[in-house]
Amino acid sequence: MGLAAYISRRILFSFFVILGELAIVFYLTNIAAPNPAVIWAGPESTQQQVQLVTELYHLNSPWYIQFLYYLRNIFTGNWGTSPLYQRPVLSLIEQYLPVTLELAIISFVIKVLAETLLGVVSAVRAGGLVDNAIKWFYTVTRSLPPFLLALGLLLIFSYDLKVLPSSQPINPLLALNTPAFKVYDPFTGRYVGFWLIDNMPVLNALLVGDWAAAKSGLVHAILPACTLILFGFGGLVRLIKVSMLDALQSDYVRTARSKGLSERAVVFGHALRNSLLPATTLMGLLFAQLVAGSLVVETVFDYYGLGYYLGQSLLTFDTPSLIAGTVLITTIIVLSNLATDIAYGVLDPRTRV
């Protein structure tokens, strides 16, 4: 199978996965709350308004008809209105998604670097004190209930030591209201383009050149990022270690040594380089873990991102937000898995002809 065919098959499959998840969640909301018109119309709505909402969302039709309408609305940008915020879901997502993405990307980079390094160390020093310490560290952190870990860090660093902020993505006083990129589109009359970047606290601040805001954003990100990094910590360490041990005993490493390469060049240039290939398969999963973990982390740290938003909608049964948030997180995760699959196909020279 050619690479192009493989990729297009994967893309098609991803699309069906997202559609399937959307259908399941939509169906469940439908049986759990058969007539949400009253809630959606708001607490002080009149009979007429309820009637209007019912017609607008075709709430009298069977669920699959409603689902089709919902699908159409999703593609035309109408994601429903959140009864909790009384705002269109799409605008909420526009505000919250970038915050989470930024946090996830920061954590992802640090997590991958840290775990890779520890994996290398524990392979080179296999069986030694450092190796065992690393192993115990991740075995215990993995077994902590996620929110307990988050709260532990919160209590220690914010309440006891008072060195790090306990909540919010950025100091509200420093929050930027001037996005770096906002392009006015004269045809639609809307601001388009870089809305994702506009709502990323640190990146936007950096682009505008507001160092104080950037610093505040980073400081606020430390605790949530640390917690995210510790969630499921060790999976990559373990994988890197296993494949490094394999690689270090391999014939090509022996060849590399016999060439007179320094130990560092052998470990990083040959063994690690080969071990990173199987590690790429884990990247999608890691990113997925981070995005899913943001649910707990952002709720604990009041970090106003997608996880916080979804957490709130879970607690308050804000159905439109719940569906949209769930599907969005699914989409991110499916896409990151897709990217991983493609990356693996492209990176491994042996799969190329």
Binding site: T29, L151, R238, L314, T319
Partner: protein
């Protein structure tokens, strides 16, 4: 691995005693309110302290053990049962059955299980408070099986051509009888290893559900719920949530140590890497 076994033995012994006769361990009643003793920190008379209503935290932890020790078994047990049957049958029969099972499995496998399960539990739980614990468990069951389907199928593909399977087929055993007698027993050890690992994570995932208010409803003593209830009292009365949290951690630690030990024994490629 020995540490893990020891941990689990102690915890499950505790759970058993708590189920049979909790008074062997504690002299308090888990629901007895004692406002004179409310909010007292850990001491000799109240090992884990008391909560806002003066209930002994240690006693409530003990009473929660039977329920909490069964939660991961129920969920993972369901996943293993469904996954194993689908996987072995699909792998052994091949053809259209395999194709269909694989597609559905792939689809469920690609879902971010925690998020989907949270959504399911939340939606179902909206209708009834009392049933939330069970809805959460159902939600986790729904997302638990695809992994085992894949694992079982992969193993079956290897075993299908093993000589003794061929011999059994030649001897005229029916297909399902071959699966039951000759294939499933060979897959079980590896499945057990992964199931043990999975039970640890499942318990932790379940605790996330409790955190979002989707766990057992008061006054049922349940560890995840107790941690959740104690969160509001932080940082002052830390013992409300810390001790139940530690017990949860010990459960998860025990399962994951045992699981890793088993996996290292059974999955030779990973040996020595733990």
């Amino acid at each position: 691995m020995l540490t893990g076994i020891a941990l689990l033995v102690v915890l499950y012994a505790g759970a058993l005693i708590a189920y049979v006769d909790p008074h062997l361990i504690t002299r308090y009643n888990p629901d007895a309110l004692d406002f004179a003793q409310a909010n007292s920190p850990p001491s000799l008379s109240h090992l884990f302290g008391t909560d806002i209503e003066g209930r002994d935290v240690f006693t409530r932890v003990v009473y929660a053990l039977p329920l909490d020790s069964l939660i991961p078994f129920a969920i993972v047990g369901f996943g293993v049962a469904v996954g194993l049957s689908l996987g072995t049958v699909a792998g052994y029969l091949g053809g259209a059955v395999e194709e269909i099972v694989l597609r559905v499995t792939d689809m469920f496998f690609a879902f971010p299980s925690i998020v989907l399960a949270l959504a399911i539990a939340s939606i179902l739980g909206a209708t009834s408070h009392g049933g939330r614990l069970y809805y959460s468990m159902v939600a986790l069951m729904i997302v638990s099986w695809p992994f085992y389907t894949r694992l079982a199928r992969a193993q079956v593909l290897v075993l299908r051509n093993a000589p003794y399977v061929k011999v059994a087929e030649a001897a005229g055993y029916g297909r399902f009888s071959v699966i039951r007698r000759h294939i499933v027993p060979h897959i079980l050890p590896l499945v057990t290893a992964y199931a043990s690992l999975d039970m640890g994570t499942t318990l932790l995932t379940y605790s996330v559900f409790a955190f979002f208010g989707l766990g057992a409803q008061p006054p049922t003593p349940e560890l995840g719920r107790m941690v959740y209830d104690g969160l509001n009292a932080l940082p002052g009365n830390w013992w409300w949530s810390l001790f139940p949290g530690i017990v949860l951690t010990l459960f998860a630690l025990g399962f994951s140590l045992v699981g890793e030990g088993l996996r290292d024994i059974l999955d030779p490629r990973l040996r020595g890497a733990a």
